[in-house]
Amino acid sequence: MASIDISNIQKSYGIMPVLQGIDLEIQDGEFVVLVGPSGCGKSTLLRMIAGLEHVTDGEIRIDGRRVNELAPKDRDIAMVFQSYALYPHMSVAKNMSYSLRLRKVASDKIATIIAGAATKLGLGPLMERRPKALSGGQRQRVAMGRAIVREPKAFLFDEPLSNLDARLREQMRAEIKKLHKDLGATSIYVTHDQIEAMTLADRIVAMHGGSIQQVGRPLDLYDRPANLFVAGFIGSPGMNFFEGRVSVVGERSSLTLADGIVLPLPAATALQSGERATLGIRPEHVVLEPAAAGDIRARIDLIEPTGFGMILHLTLGTVSFKAFTLNRAYLQAGGDIGVRFPAEHSHLFDKDGQALNRP
């Protein structure tokens, strides 16, 4: 087990910069999840930690020791690939014991370790099979098994569950969480999946365009996104945004949208009249009222029942947005509905997309 310190890491392919100055300190035993849109450099960062990718600039330390120049084999790190990368010509047992055999561990000791891992992952009856004869979920388990047998300093996961169907993904997610609890190993986990990120992470690192946007506990990112990108990226369905100009009259301030609709803003904002700003509100925080009672009326375009609740697609003036409600009763597509954006759940972003502190 080890801490991983990443300071001012840069990566470019030729003249194309991919990562620009990543700083991240990962504590011993911490589970860190990297999220971000496709192509933002998550895999690249992970592969640099593993030693599979040359570091253009900056420093990576594992347990305080600089590893930039170390070969992957000398970093004592395990990695689970999206493709699983199981060795097709070896049995499950051989796949799992390969790292131990390379390290010349005594064969009786290998047998014990492999048996232990097989039990832990429920792979017992499959040990003599080739990867070709396994289902996707089983392959995934073997890939996990291969990583845990040698008790490495840290685990790296690159979208390990993205090839599984939804149900299996849910199950494996829980198993990974349990495994992490048992082993307490430092882990870095890359995913596209909101729920995976929220449920697994001790801390989430949200990346965009080769730099870190925000680092924090899952609910911190959810409740207090640092900027428009994080606000829009975390959460599903995503946060609604209303862009407009601020006007301040005495104690009250409001936001005028392009088509003239006026939304009240939380009382105390640092914004001046005339500044551009964006108001953000999550779908589940939109309060729905009968059309007659609300001051703001929106049209219902579409209703998507998810079973658990309903997602409403609404239009306010020319802006489309979404609301989530548990109430099934009186809603009808095509009709009008009153909406309210409670101040305590509103997020305000300045013209550069940075979040303004809420009172």
């Binding site: 593993a50 030693g51 599979l52 070969a71 992957p72 084999k73 790190i77 395990a78 990695m79 690939f81 493709s83 990368a85 199981l86 060795y87 097709p88 010509h89 390969y98 790292s99 390379l102 390290r103 990867p131 070709k132 291969r146 040698r150």
Partner: protein
């Protein structure tokens, strides 16, 4: 099943049959002539099978001609060429597939360039180079020339096999604690066996049937390979077809054995890529 479908299947099978007959007929004729006694060869006219079979040609070729020497020479030359070329081609193909290095583009371009000249153009210069080195009239000389000519194509062949193996596998091995070379030997090479078998087979048959260079570089029977040796059945006044064909049949044997040995890997190579590892 509709009549149209049955007709489709029939047409398909017939087409395959037609192709097989077309492709295998020369082989059949080779065997047929080789077992036809000299007396019947011309007297019986064109028949699909002689009225009497005999192995006299085989016996004669084995006992009274230099064929066994040719055969041994061919085996040595083709075998060595196949092995040497495959070793070079698999290491070079791996490098081309996996590494980026300075001059890679030019190396590939040069290798392609060597494939563009008709070999006949090169016979004279090669003879000029080899003869002061004492490598004409020697099997070593032939092996060197064949190796040089086969390495580029074989390298591209092997490169395409390596390209078909996901890079993740080596990376996983390196993270598991292997060096790049150990990953190559223990993970990638076993998975490339079909490719290696195909390359071995390709180079072996190419060298086995090569005539031009062995004709030009070798004089005399001691270092002659089998294709050259076949010409010794052509004398000034007659061609001994029976013996020639018998020698030809026997020359097929190693190639057949060779492909029998590697066919397991060849078939595997054709199907293995279908399943994601």
């Amino acid at each position: 099943m509709t009549a149209k479908r049955i007709f489709g299947i029939l047409a398909h099978r017939l087409a395959i049959l037609g192709y097989l007959v077309f492709a295998l007929f020369p082989l059949y004729w080779l065997v047929k002539v080789s077992v036809t006694p000299n007396k019947l060869l011309y007297s019986e006219g064109v028949r699909l099978w002689p009225s009497r079979m005999s192995l006299e040609h085989f016996a004669f070729v084995l006992k009274h001609s230099d064929f066994p020497i040719f055969f041994k020479n061919s085996l040595i030359v083709s075998g060595s060429t196949a092995i040497i070329v495959t070793v070079f081609a698999s290491t070079a193909g791996y490098a081309l597939s996996r590494f980026n290095f300075r001059g890679k583009y030019w190396i590939v371009a040069l290798m392609l360039l060597t494939q563009m000249f008709p070999l006949v153009m090169l016979v004279a210069p090669i003879f000029k180079i080899l003869s002061p080195l004492g490598l004409t009239n020697s099997l070593t000389g032939l092996v060197i020339v064949y190796t040089a000519f086969n390495v580029p194509f074989a390298t591209f062949l092997m490169q395409s096999f390596f390209d078909g193996i996901p890079k993740d596998l080596e990376e996983a091995a390196m993270i598991d604690g292997a060096t790049q070379f150990v990953a190559f030997r223990q993970i990638i090479l076993p998975l490339t066996l079909p490719g290696i078998a195909a390359t071995l087979g390709f180079v072996f048959t190419a060298a086995w049937s090569e005539l031009l260079f062995s004709l030009m570089l070798i004089s005399g029977n001691q270092a002659a390979t089998f294709p050259v040796g076949l010409l010794s059945f052509v004398s000034k006044f007659s061609v001994d077809f029976g013996q020639m064909m018998a020698a030809g049949v026997m020359a097929l044997v190693p190639a057949c054995l060779f492909f029998l040995l590697i066919q397991r890997y060849l078939v595997q190579g054709l199907t293995a890529g279908a399943v994601k590892g």
